[in-house]
Symmetry: C2
């Protein structure tokens, strides 16, 4: 008797919006394509594509460049490239630093500033530091660019709807309206999400997950394990945006107590600090840790790596059974663990029950480096324009 809401009818202008959005997205995600490729991949008429690209160029969302010498018969097709005007600001607050960056369409990171902190920041600290950096950056990029908004990648459960940080165990933030406060401090629209979810987004569009419709991403950091899911080509968010918390999945029923209060969480059994401790090194960075693991001097290291891979495999098995992805992307020290003994993990996955659902799973390492979170966070700010390019009016929202 009741009718589900959100079931929107479509008019002619929705077609236009959809097609503009589609073309802009294709150029954004491919970081530049010939116009003729757009006609092919969209199935739209040449004349339609011409009109769409025309409008996007008019709005400074795209630029057209000379075709590159392709040695193909026929009239060369001009290259459609992301326009330089729209930019997004990305923020990543951590325990020991706040990183802010400027990102253009096509995932071009134009600038990145990492401001180290002496102590774990309060929300007020984080907002203040970020706002300061944002002001600097807007001065620097004010001319010729239009800032669409700020995307924040936060190591926390973040409520998607309003950007409230529900729980950031390591930053010790609880129910903090981070997005709203940063919005008030900067006057820019702020979108916040979980850092690993944004890493997933970035890898899925521009990294190891390009073109893959069903994947899961797990990232191992110093403070724990986060993750995200792309299913059917879409990022999974869940009701409130908390989906992808593989770190607190149970992998050992009789295991250790986790900082979260539960027992046997993936992130209490698979930990970076244990590996670091065994290397005997102090405060290593990712590359050093991986080098030390690959060298694998002591038996203790080898044993610990295998032990952690066993637990990781349990978590992955559950995820595979639940989500049936085609690709598993491992980032951070999880990628290093895999690099040390890829066959071990592959074998553990292959030998699993319901072989059918895991037979086609391929495990790969993430390919985006330090810019991953900048790119993912920027995507949040780009979203509204990618969704409705005609909402972008040059100059209106421009700097200052």
């Amino acid at each position: 008797m009741t009718i589900a809401p959100g079931a929107d009818g479509r008019g002619n202008s929705d077609v236009r919006r959809h097609n503009l959005s589609l073309v802009l997205r294709l150029v954004h995600q491919s970081q530049g394509v010939p116009r003729s490729a757009l006609t092919r991949s969209t199935g739209l008429n040449r004349s339609t594509i011409a009109a769409l690209v025309g409008e996007l160029v008019e709005r400074e969302l795209l630029v057209e460049a000379e075709p590159d010498a392709s040695n193909q018969v026929g009239r060369p097709s001009p290259l459609a490239l992301p326009g330089p005007r729209p930019i997004a600001i990305a923020v990543n607050p951590e325990i020991d630093a706040i990183t802010v960056g400027v990102v253009g369409l096509g995932a071009t990171v134009l600038q990145r500033i990492r401001r180290p902190l002496s102590k774990s920041p309060s929300v007020a600290d984080a907002v203040a530091v970020t706002a300061g950096l944002v002001t600097e950056l807007r001065r620097e990029f004010g001319a010729g660019h239009t800032v669409l908004g700020i995307g924040a990648a936060i190591p926390a459960l973040v409520r998607a709807r309003d950007g409230v940080v529900r729980l950031a165990p390591h930053l010790h933030w609880v129910d903090e309206p981070f997005a709203a406060e940063l919005e008030a401090a900067t006057g820019l629209p702020v979108f916040a999400a979980n850092d690993a979810n944004l890493g997933t987004l970035a890898e899925s569009i521009f990294g190891a997950g390009r073109g893959v419709a069903d994947l899961i991403y797990l990232n191992g950091g110093a403070s724990g394990i986060g993750g995200g899911i792309i299913s059917g080509g879409r990022a999974l968010s869940g009701v409130e945006g908390y989906a992808g918390e593989f770190g607190h999945t149970v992998v050992a029923t009789g295991g250790e107590r986790c900082h979260c209060g539960a027992v046997g969480c993936l992130e209490t059994e698979v930990r970076r600090d244990r590996l670091v401790a065994l290397t005997g090194l102090d405060d290593v960075d990712s590359d050093e840790l991986e080098a030390a693991l690959l060298a694998g001097e002591t038996a203790a290291i080898r044993t610990e790596v295998l032990r952690q891979l066993d637990f990781l495999a349990v978590a992955l098995r559950n995820a595979v059974n639940i989500l049936n992805p085609s690709t598993i992307i491992l980032g951070g020290f999880l990628g290093s663990l895999y690099a040390v003994a890829p066959n071990q993990l592959d074998a553990l996955l292959a030998s699993q029950p319901l072989a059918a659902s895991s037979e086609a799973v391929s495990v790969v390492r993430s390919v985006l480096g330090a810019n991953r979170l900048m790119i993912g966070a920027a995507e949040l700010a780009f979203e509204s324009v990618l969704d409705d390019p005609s909402s972008f009016v040059t100059g209106e929202k421009s700097a200052r």
Copy 2:
């Protein structure tokens, strides 16, 4: 450089298709609504809705009925009802019986035949029995109805793409092209999927999950535990359609060995037969089992119920952390377990880590009864018409 495929541009006729589809879906899912409600919920113009409904009536997909006395001011709006012509045939092969049904739009089950079997059927057996029943039913429903196709709900991993049964542990089918064979035997298009996935679909559209965009469904049957996921309003399938296999999720690291070869699967720890054994009864049906559990005569029963709820809670905790649903629907004996000690399970879920992600989860029992799989399977066969109503040409595909 490469462009993602499947990114389709939209033309004018896509608008029509989308709107026709939308209207038909709304009527199908609501099982009858006033035309005026369609204008409101779609946002489309009155005249547009009139045209759309007109075309759908013309095609015999909808019928319009006298408005019911609503005591509202203004001209009464005629009721749009699912048309009786299009029907789907649903099949559910099991170890001891094959059930075939006839389902109309709006989830109306017109007929259901359960054919008991003396032994677990081979694929050939199942196809033969089904084809026989289908012939009978087509004779019975030949006049005035058009059979769109056959939907099959199978207790197995089913490859969505082609309906191949990859693995049915209890039927002992491995890599059997069930859909293709039934198609050959009946001449009707056949769509097959995992039974619990189809149960999820049915509950989400017509049952306990109506209007809920993010839910998980777990069903406990005699042969194990299956499930399914709706996320962001869409059924999750995974690459091959194997998503939702909660039954083989790890809940006990040191647990028993499962028939699947792994250790500690949910469905080895949470089992119907253990409960049945403790009741002392023999071959009970669902209601009898539930009554016996609710009576809870022996301490042993009580203990076992709580033990199973503990393991179920582990699986649900993992699922909640991964998927962040708003609702968990429990079917089969899992619903009975919950009925015995709802507070126990609620408490286990509420006390979990990352409270934010589980705070809003509500656990409910499934509401669709024995028709659940018929409705879910029929949905598969209806899908193509719901997606493109103008493909439905009356009489063309009709009986015989």
